[in-house]
């Protein structure tokens, strides 16, 4: 028991000796279990390396009190800037207060929070307008492909505890409301952002409304899960539409297969990991001032709509970015 500890510790000593007085950035991530997070992770690592900075990570597994602890520990480890996603707004305030107290820069890589001179404005994904784009794709497809007499029944998988997802679903629903000329029904259920969650939620929705023909999942996993439920219910590819969000490789693959999964609103995690890391390092090394970034305000990165036309291209791009095993 003690021996394995000793080995681990020797490893760590070796690692730590290789890290000298470079600018140090701490990153708090909620999980490394999704491709999105993995690409983000890689983006941070690559950019840090490029700029000669050190990056340390702490993963919180979705628990807000762990977020606070993670930030604390990263700062104790010498991080001069923290990049953190306020996935659950509860922890944000605490992390903000702590960074203020310890004089550490705080960068927000999650969803927009009330601005403050204490932290750099959000660089992130246009969740709301991404949702709108999904809505736009849906409306166009419905008008073209669902014959005038047939009912339009839309299912909508959500994740209410995650602000980003809430924004996506909101964008989608509001766009549809404003732009669907035909009557339609829309139902939602919590897909929990996972395959299993999406599957279960969709099964339940289909029980209540068997003629659902459009599905929007707040992320790819739940959309794919929901799609399995639709397929199991015997839905035909040509008559149905599934739209995902995230830009996961699986999403692209489904699009390329040419089935009912026709569009994916892609996030660009690599791009903004790069931008975030650059900002963080610049702040630490004094090459940029906080005030300037705050003035710039929120920068929202575009969410391109990936469809059959460009799926292959996106797939290749992201496949390359996955961490080399």
């Amino acid at each position: 028991m003690k021996k394995s500890f000793a080995i681990l510790v020797v490893l760590m000593v070796a690692v730590s000796f290789s890290l000298m007085a470079a600018p140090k950035v701490g990153v708090v991530q909620i999980t490394l279990e999704h491709e999105y997070q993995l690409i983000l992770h890689q983006g941070y690592i690559d950019k840090a390396k490029e700029m000669g900075a050190e990056v340390t990570f702490s993963i919180t597994e979705m628990s807000p009190e762990k977020t606070v602890t993670a930030a604390e520990n990263l700062i104790a480890g010498g991080a001069q800037a923290i990049i953190c996603a306020p996935g659950d707004p509860a922890s944000w305030k605490a992390v903000l207060a702590m960074c203020k107290e310890k004089n550490v820069y705080l960068l927000n890589d999650g969803s927009p929070q009330p601005e403050g001179p204490d932290h750099v404005a959000f660089i992130g994904t246009q969740s709301y307008s991404g949702g709108q784009k999904a809505g736009q794709f849906a409306v166009n497809w419905i008008n073209k492909n669902i014959p005038a007499g047939k009912k339009v029944v839309v299912a909508h998988l959500t994740l209410p505890t995650f602000t980003d997802c809430v924004q996506r679903n909101k964008g989608f629903a509001e766009y549809m409301k404003a732009n669907m000329k035909r009557p339609y029904e829309i139902y939602d259920d919590v897909g929990s952002g996972t395959r299993q969650g999406g599957l279960t939620a969709m099964e339940n929705l289909l029980q209540a409304h068997p003629d659902i023909n459009v599905l929007f999942g707040c992320n790819d996993d739940s959309a794919l899960g929901g799609m399995s439920a639709m397929k199991a219910a015997g839905k035909k590819d040509a008559e149905n539409l599934v739209i995902g969000f995230d830009g996961a490789l699986k999403g692209f693959q489904e699009i390329m297969k040419g089935g009912m999964f026709r569009a994916d609103i892609a996030q660009q995690p690599y791009l903004y990991a790069t931008m975030m890391m650059e900002r963080a390092v610049k702040l630490i090394t004094g090459k940029a001032k906080l005030a300037q970034y705050v003035k710039e305000g929120t920068i929202l990165i575009d969410t391109p709509v990936v469809t059959a036309a460009n799926a292959q291209e996106w797939y290749d791009k992201y496949a390359k970015l996955m961490p080399k095993k």
């Binding site: 028991m1 730590s16 520990n73």
Partner: protein, 325 residues
Amino acid sequence: MQEAAPKTASRRRIANPQIMQLLGVLVALIVLGIVFSVASKGRFSHPENLLTVARQVSITVIVGIGITFIMITGNIDLAVGSYLALSGIFLANMILLGVPWWLAVVMTMAALGLLQLLVGTVIAKQRLSSLIVTLAMLSIARGIALSWSGGKPVYIENDSFMQIGNGYLGPIPVPVIIAGCALIIGQFVLRKTRFGRYAYAVGGNEEAARSSGINTDRIKISVFVISGFLTGLAGCVMAGRLFSGSPVAGQGFELDVIASVVIGGTSMNGGLGSMIGTLIGAFMVGAINNGLTILGVEYYYQLMAKGMIIFLAILIDRWTKNVRG
């Protein structure tokens, strides 16, 4: 007589396995601390960091006291993480209703105590496994917290209350003081009162306890109630840290607490355990989390290290079980 005395004295020193085990864990903790300090070039052992770890660990310790009581009687409580979240939500809502914060804290503790009274009664009177019942409560309590709050955190805007989670008394963080007091009281009750002795008896040999005149049901229910009070208190401290009651807080927390308690020498079979052990165990878990992050160890290795700790805890538990025959 004179010759017999030194012989029994030395026999006594060797023959107390609980103290040996406690000493063993303490030594391991100290060694770990030294190793971390050296590897992190003093960052780990910086008094500010140690206080940070102490503060992070406070919540685990407070809840751990209750769990130690429960486990000494041979039961377990898997729902503490959910209770933590529920307490926070309860507290936040009370404050929103205008209840003065200190009264809200008392009410929260009472509410959790009441809940645990119910749970304990079901377990004791219906002779159900505490594992199963508390496993169910894990979901039920989490569900209540989520539905009551709508999945969103409930903010607390009260400066004096914030002192609980974030304030200091001199150089020492308030949560540490609360945990310290609870620990001293807990240890006293365990070692120096009839109730504590009975708790050990019920866990050690329930039949013998009953035939010795102990109301085993009452003891079992009581430890759950105690745990309820403590968990309510811990939930308030955490809400203070997060400036809100968060319905998603505490996920996975039960693992941390149980690992701490078991590492500290409390046997999952009951009859053995101490509060000091729980304190050491909690510090062990917290120090590893903090130390590995400071050293920038890869997340996957951190997971493995934590897994090894739990495995260690199980081995230790097995060893103390054999010793008990």
